[in-house]
């Protein structure tokens, strides 16, 4: 454990210069409750979202020319339009019309050659250029060259689409990812083309959501009705990570499963679902891993379930035996976040049985995640009571410690914006 703690103290740089995680948090696990409650603290965290690379989409969502998605980054007050041009290039823009600064595209995804503003029908190409202005003569001073959509920096890394809201990013995506990039390089993300995307609002601080996804300790209690028997084993009842690595601000952690798990006959629908398709989240028996990559499951544990790849600040990708899933925790306000999950299957269903099983599997996983979000909502209310000054993460919750320690260091950096008294 001392070796893991020391590893968690390593330097990182996410664009604000080299820093060290807060050593006190890494060593003691104690994090002031104020980090989850203070509006001023939240404002500083939201500001970070305006400057670092953020994963917002998969390349596979933009498979053909004209394919587009809109993604909201509430912390940066940004709506981002990401589109593959007719030339095949993926571009990102602020989703804002140059005429009256209106939200341009109101839908969530589609395929179009051009975008027409709903207000007065200004027209933009997939390359962001202004293509048409109704009653053009009324705008004698309009400069079309500077009235295209405002670009946002975008980079695609092995199938993962990242944007940086900063007009002048402090780092390239490669610099931002640092040592964890090779793990992403090796992951066959593009092989998984059939995806369910889920999103919903949760009334708790975004870091509480991230915490719950960063440790297995809670599975034996909170998920006792659902996931416990699949995950908690006789030898590892508290679901301690089997190995952990830190790559600057990012991390990788191997998680176990219960190899003795067998679906009871008393749950015939669940059993049918599990027998119909390989489960991306909890592994079945005897299946070859989808992610047999250097760096994953480094201890070669037989009870390996998945490796959690945790990318600062809010993105977690779990590479498992039969697929992968991702979680995003999008800060909305100090006491709310938007939960976003993607469950990826290797291929489209080949039968109606498989289609049913994928739907039901995603519903079950949504319910398990809802156990987490119900919990963090209770936590937010309780934290506000002031009964406790700090939370305390155990050594098996080391990922939570590291996440908190990295964030603490960044918000306390010397060039951080001053906390205004009025904001409190």
């Amino acid at each position: 454990m001392e070796q893991d703690l020391r590893a968690a103290l390593g330097a990182f740089d996410v664009g604000f210069g080299p820093m060290l995680p807060d050593a006190d948090i890494v060593r003691t696990g104690k994090v002031p409750v104020d980090a989850y409650l203070s509006p001023a603290r939240f404002a500083r965290e939201a500001e970070i979202f305006r400057h670092v690379w953020l994963n917002v989409a998969l390349d596979a969502e933009l498979s053909g020319p004209g394919d587009w998605v809109v993604r909201e980054i509430e912390a940066a007050s940004a709506s981002v339009l990401i589109v593959r041009g007719q030339d095949g290039v993926v571009r990102a823009f602020h989703n804002v019309c140059s005429h009256r600064a209106l939200k341009l595209v109101w839908g969530e995804s589609g395929c179009d050659r051009q975008f027409v503003c709903p207000y007065h029908a200004w027209i933009y190409g997939a390359d962001g250029s202004l293509r048409g202005v109704p009653d053009r003569v009324s705008f004698p001073d309009l400069d079309p060259a500077t009235s295209g959509l405002t670009p946002i920096n975008v980079e695609v890394w092995n199938g993962l689409v990242f944007v940086n809201i900063d007009a002048n990013p402090r780092q390239s995506l490669r610099e931002f990812l640092g040592g964890i990039a090779p793990l992403l390089d090796a992951a066959p993300i593009g092989d998984f083309r059939y995806t369910a995307r889920l999103t919903g609002l949760v009334k708790s601080n975004w870091k509480a959501g991230l915490d719950a996804a960063s440790e297995g300790y809670h599975v034996q209690a909170l998920h006792r009705d659902s996931a416990r028997d699949m995950v908690c084993s006789k030898t590892n009842p508290f679901v301690k990570f089997m190995s952990i690595d830190f790559y600057g601000a990012h991390r990788r952690m191997s998680n176990p499963r219960n190899v003795d798990f067998q679906l009871p006959d008393s749950k015939p629908v669940t059993k049918f679902v599990f027998e119909s398709i390989p489960q991306p989240v909890v592994a079945g028996e005897g299946q070859a891993p989808s992610f047999d990559l250097p760096g994953l499951n480094p201890t070669h544990a037989e009870d390996w379930s998945n490796d959690l790849v945790s990318i600062f600040p809010n993105f977690q990708m779990s590479l498992a035996l039969n697929g992968f899933w991702t979680m995003h925790y999008w800060p909305v306000s100090v006491d709310s976040f938007r939960w976003e999950a993607h469950y990826h299957f290797r291929e489209a269903p080949k039968s109606w049985r498989e289609r049913f099983a994928m739907e039901a599997s995603v519903a079950m996983n949504r319910d398990i995640s809802s156990e987490d979000t119900a919990c963090t909502q209770q936590q937010q209310v309780a934290m506000a009571s002031g009964a406790r000054a700090f939370v305390q993460f155990g050594t098996s919750e080391l990922l939570c410690r590291h996440e908190a320690a990295v964030m603490e260091a960044i918000v306390n950096r010397s060039d951080a914006p001053a906390i205004s008294v009025a904001a409190e």
Binding site: A60, E61, E108, S109, R193, Y194, T195, A196, R197, L198, T199, G200, L201, D225, S226, S266, K267, P268, V269, T270, F272, V273, A348, P349, K350, S351, W352, R353, E354, R355, F356, A357, E359, A360, V362, A363, M364, R366, D367, S370, E371, T373, A374, C375, Q377, Q378
Partner: protein, 117 residues
């Protein structure tokens, strides 16, 4: 009632009124949360024993083309069974414990077949 079912499954028709027209996971999830446990149990008890028979029938149709209307209605009923089964098999109550209702979770699939309007 807007659709009929394949002949072998016509006895499931009473459930079409509640579940037969729901196209998206979000809609099914909301109806599940609003339902009473005895109604969910009745639905589950009627459909769960038919799982294998239903899919033996549905899988005589290609997976990449639209089903005929009666089969499509039957499939929507089965998707509803998938939504209801955690309430019966895991939680023993309609909603996930202590999740405030209505709990809205938007769900979309990458092939756009379900979840989009």
């Amino acid at each position: 009632m807007t659709a009929i079912l394949p002949a072998a499954f016509i006895d499931l028709a009473p459930f079409l009124g509640v579940w037969g027209d729901l196209e998206t996971a979000q809609e099914r999830y909301l109806v599940r949360q609003q339902s009473r446990m005895p109604d969910l149990q009745r639905f589950y008890d009627a459909l769960a024993p038919r799982l294998v028979a239903v899919f033996d029938h549905l899988d005589t149709f290609p997976a990449d083309a639209p089903l005929p209307p009666p089969e499509a209605a039957l499939f929507r009923l089965m998707l509803a069974l998938g939504e209801v089964s955690p309430a019966i098999e895991i939680y023993h109550q309609p909603e996930v414990p202590f999740v405030p209702k209505p709990h809205v979770v938007a769900t979309t699939w990458s092939d756009g077949t379900r979840g989009k309007r």
